[in-house]
């Protein structure tokens, strides 16, 4: 007697990957429709950390809204602050001194390095390699020490104000940054080899979660996730701001579009970040670290938009002003919001373990999505 495969029936069922889950990188709830282990549909439910930042900004002054942007994508908080400051400065027609642009760029790239280090550590941990978590945080702590000395805080730095920086850099800043870069250049090949040379990691990530270039443009997926599919969207190249116009770096574009390509894109971006810092750290110009603005900033009537490249993608700040001292409407176009919308599209047909790998390479930070 034979049991044929057709005599076994299966039905779809729902599993909830709830808001409290170690792999969702925050409070994201996913409703999975499964057939056995194969995913048929992923439905993200967000809003578990919606803190109404946009509504709060309508009652705050322009200097105060900078402090709220820290808490959105807290791993690239310097770039978030920079985005708001650039919008306000551009609207007022304010020109900041060269030293401010150079310092903002150096600290942005250090923030990008620390964010990618944390991403690398947590990616390994999601796939089961706890070692990467410990190594990733060790180097991240060194960068955070530099921030603590210069900017005053470890995580929510608030070093930018509209008009410049909050304090002058610490005398040790240059030396510590150079020492860190020398140290990290030796470590990054080891870290890369730890995961890339591991056959289990490669099997779990190659060919999984393919995102084509047309889909990346249509869904608005930016950052390393979009560039790994061939979508050239680096704001530092297309709309240069601060000191990016005068440094020489490559935009990392890959064509495979799968999970492994997104992983590789971030590792290569870390090399480029170090290259940018090396070009700037020795030639910090002299000058004042801020431009004087009025105590009460009022933007002219109109609307203003500014984009920056955070570690996750393109952050846009859209301010509509009616001439008063509070903005009329502030909208943050966050990179995570669009990156999350592609999750359903690329993970159909994968298994649940592949979904974890896909989510960790999309590098989602949920407060960035919910604002």
């Amino acid at each position: 007697m034979e049991e044929t495969a057709t005599s076994i029936e299966s039905k779809e069922y729902f599993v909830n990957m709830g808001p409290q889950h170690p792999s969702t990188h925050g409070v994201l709830r996913l409703m999975l429709t499964l057939d056995g282990e194969i995913i048929k549909k992923v439905e993200p439910h967000i809003g578990y950390i919606h803190r109404s930042i946009e509504k709060m900004c309508e009652k705050d002054s322009y200097q105060q809204i900078v402090h709220l942007t820290d808490r959105m994508d807290y791993l690239s908080c310097h770039m978030n602050n920079e985005a708001v400051c650039l919008t306000v400065e551009d609207a007022l027609g304010l020109e900041v001194p060269e030293i401010v642009k150079v310092i903002r760029t150096i600290i942005s790239e250090l923030t990008r390095l620390s964010s990618h280090q944390l991403w690398w550590g947590v990616m390994g941990m999601d796939l089961g390699a706890i070692t990467t978590f410990l190594y990733g945080f060790r180097d991240r702590e060194m960068i955070i020490d530099i921030f603590e000395e210069t900017c005053g805080a470890r995580l929510t730095m608030n070093y930018n104000v509209p008009g410049g920086l909050m304090f002058d850099i610490h005398p040790n800043f240059q030396k510590r940054t150079k020492d860190f870069i020398t140290h990290f250049k030796k470590k990054l090949p080891e870290y890369d080899e730890l995961l890339t040379g591991n056959v289990i990691f490669v099997e779990r990530t190659k060919g999984i979660g393919y995102l084509s270039k047309e889909d990346a443009i249509s869904f608005g997926v930016t950052g390393p996730s979009g560039r790994a599919s061939g979508f050239s969207c680096d704001v530092r190249k297309h709309n240069p701001y601060s000191a990016y116009a005068k440094v020489d770096f490559k935009e990392i574009l890959l064509t495979e579009g799968d999970t492994f390509a997104r992983y590789k894109a971030r590792i290569l971006e870390m090399w480029e970040s170090m290259h940018i810092i090396e070009q700037l750290i020795d030639n910090i110009p002299e000058g004042e670290y801020f431009t004087k603005t009025k105590a009460v900033i009022k933007l002219p009537v109109g609307e203003f938009y500014q984009k920056v490249e955070t570690a996750r993608g393109e952050l846009g700040v859209y301010i509509v002003s009616d001439g008063k001292k509070n903005p009329y409407r502030v909208k943050f176009r966050s990179p995570g919001f669009s990156n999350l919308s592609v999750l359903d599209h690329i993970s159909r047909g994968c298994k649940i373990a592949d979904l974890v790998a896909i989510m960790s390479t999309l590098d989602l930070v949920i407060p960035d999505i919910d604002r």
Partner: protein, 153 residues
């Protein structure tokens, strides 16, 4: 295409479009009923080819509501801002552009959630960020919440 050519192109499709220019973009204001047609032509025409919608916002202007689309073309490297004006505040409705740019699916749900604008033919229009049974639309200027929100004079 330069701003002048874009103005000519758009005036052919929507004759009563209003144009403004600021330092960064060309701003085009149209009434809500023309938006799907205009958006489709701006994407599909090979000379304009606006294939990247990078920001979709809703703004409450007290007497009317507006939906703002920031578009960019990857091939031609030009940008434009479309604003759709919705005069009805009680039941605001507009066509969804999900069929043109798929990023609009999440963005339009967010605008529906926070401002109450209904998007017709959206594949899945329901609340995104707030609880399903939340009353009211918080980003509207007439949203009152005495317990939490302090009104400035």
């Amino acid at each position: 295409m330069s701003n002048e050519e874009l103005k000519i192109f758009i005036t052919e499709i929507v004759p009563d479009a209003v144009f403004e220019e600021n330092k960064q973009f060309l701003l085009v204001t149209v009434n809500a009923e023309h938006i799907l047609d205009l958006a489709g032509k701006l994407k599909n025409n090979a000379q304009t080819n606006f294939d990247y919608l990078f920001c979709l916002t809703g703004v409450d202007w007290l007497t009317y509501l507006s939906v703002v689309y920031h578009l960019k073309s990857i091939t031609h490297n030009h940008s434009i801002v479309l604003k759709a004006k919705i005069s009805d505040r009680v039941n605001p409705e507009i066509e969804s552009v999900c069929s043109i740019w798929r990023t609009a699916e999440f963005h339009e749900r967010e605008i529906y959630d926070l401002l109450g604008i209904r998007f017709n033919h959206h594949p899945d229009l329901r609340r995104l960020l707030l609880d399903d049974d939340w009353k009211g639309y918080p980003l509207r200027k007439d949203y009152a919440d005495e317990a939490n929100i302090v009104e400035l004079e």
